[in-house]
């Protein structure tokens, strides 16, 4: 379609809706449909140059650009937070190029583009998670050749991955992988869940939301449809375990969310706070108070909703 416009000083560049041209969107959409039909299999696609560096979420952005429409509400998170650089700039990208309605509330979003977290609030049917993936190949650190890993997936030769996990246990007594923990999807393909903490792996199992993964630099798209088996690899005598913390979130008191460790002085002081910023804010607004909320509020680091 030709875009007609008069060139004036105030005219912005005539991008197509959601930045990508229609032929590129069709190519990505075809890859997405095949990815959904073969859960966990990495579909090659013609990744485009985007107006930001590869490694900054170009895969996720291309997937979002191919699916987003006027009816969507977009949430973008970076390590769980809505207000960090990557999230802010990607959200603004879609506000500008796709006139997107955006939100920070997990339950309001129809599309959630994420870097390295799954929100704490349970996902719903009809929501779409879009993951930014730096390395889509779970076997890459074990086998550098694409020609070989492709055969390993083709023949479901995943012994090498089991050996790697076993060697971890033999040397350290437990599997030391804490993020990008490999999963088996629909009993067939071993998949990299992107560098989410293993804390989030159980949220992928039988999730009611559709999960799409885009790796821009590595030119791969893969997907997990709703209600699909996503099992973290483990052994009968060393079952998969998620991280746990000895203290709750210092701001909202949550004992069941993923916590970031924050160093607060040079005397060894530290606090643990929710990585999911919207979850933490929602809990504080509901009156939950952590041990250090009053201090943080006095320093104007966070708002204390309950304060008079």
């Amino acid at each position: 379609m030709t875009v007609h416009q008069n060139i004036t000083d105030e005219t912005r560049p005539a991008y197509n809706y959601a930045y990508l041209d229609e032929q590129t969107k069709r190519m990505i959409r075809r890859a997405l449909l095949k990815a959904v039909a073969i859960p966990g299999y990495q579909v090659p696609f013609g990744s485009r140059e985007m107006p930001l560096a590869r490694g900054w979420g170009t895969g996720g952005i291309q997937v979002t650009a191919a699916i987003i429409g006027p009816d969507d509400t977009l949430k973008v998170i970076d390590q769980g937070a809505d207000d960090t650089t990557n999230a802010v700039s990607i959200r603004r990208f879609f506000e500008r190029t796709a006139d997107a309605r955006t939100t920070e509330a997990t339950h309001e979003a129809t599309i959630i583009q994420t870097r390295h977290r799954i929100p704490e609030a349970p996902l719903k049917a009809g929501q779409i998670m879009v993951y930014q993936v730096p390395q889509p190949e779970p076997l890459r650190k074990l086998e550098p050749h694409e020609t070989e890993t492709r055969k390993m997936h083709a023949w479901a030769e995943y012994g090498l991955m089991q050996v790697k996990l076993y060697e971890n246990i033999a040397r350290f007594g437990e599997v030391t992988t804490t993020y990008d923990y490999p999963v088996m999807v629909n009993g067939r393909y071993v998949m990299a869940p992107s560098p989410i903490p293993k804390f989030d792996n159980p949220k992928m199992q039988m999730s009611p939301a559709l999960q799409l993964f885009g790796a821009g630099r590595e030119k791969r798209i893969y997907a997990v449809p709703p209600h699909t088996s996503v099992r973290s690899l483990d052994f009968d005598d060393h079952p998969f375990r998620i991280q746990s913390w000895e203290q709750p979130c210092a701001l909202c008191g949550a004992a069941d969310s993923y916590l970031d460790e924050v160093v607060i002085d040079d005397q060894g002081g530290r606090m643990f706070v929710c990585s999911d910023s919207h979850h933490c804010e929602t809990r504080r607004a509901d009156g939950h108070r952590g041990a250090m909320l009053a201090d943080a509020s006095a320093l104007h680091l966070v708002e204390d909703e309950a304060k008079p």
Partner: protein, 201 residues
Amino acid sequence: MAPNDTLIAAGFADPVFQSQGAFRALLAALSEPGLACDLGDAIVPPAGLEAATAVALLTLADYETPIWLPAALRDGPAGAWLRFHCGTALVDDPARAAFVMIDGAAPEPRLAAFNAGDDQFPDRSTTVLIQCAGFEGGEAVTLEGPGIAGQRSIAPIGLRPGFWAEVEDNAAVYPLGVDLLLVHGAQVLGLPRSTQIVGTR
């Protein structure tokens, strides 16, 4: 050929947003197999194509994706319409096509005639649009697999005898296989290769 046969009907009036809406319906159809999804009635399809077939091909097909159609359609207005709007090649060999459209009641070609992909690139398989007489009133089959919470029952009508055995054979070669979209009117119902048929016979 009558003069009117050479007239090519319009495609999308608003390609960007109509194809986006149609794609989301197709994505929903394949990610939740057995659920009928509406592709809308934005266009008047050429003779021989259901509205959803035409919308799906307009949304997904272009010069990179060869299409196979039954000969009567290929040489008629439907073929001309697809060539014009999608810029796509219409091929004679069903195994070479990225998208095919078949009549659910016709005995040929069988699902095994299409490209099932290869073990290293199972994504290079054919997507098969199957036009049927309706999504209710036929032989009931129960589905399970990715995208389905528990089980889901469907009963499309107007499919050839032995069709479900072919679908079972297709699912048996997972992760290879073709992906099916049953089409009726403006609606599609997805049956990706990952969907298993629970014993009907």
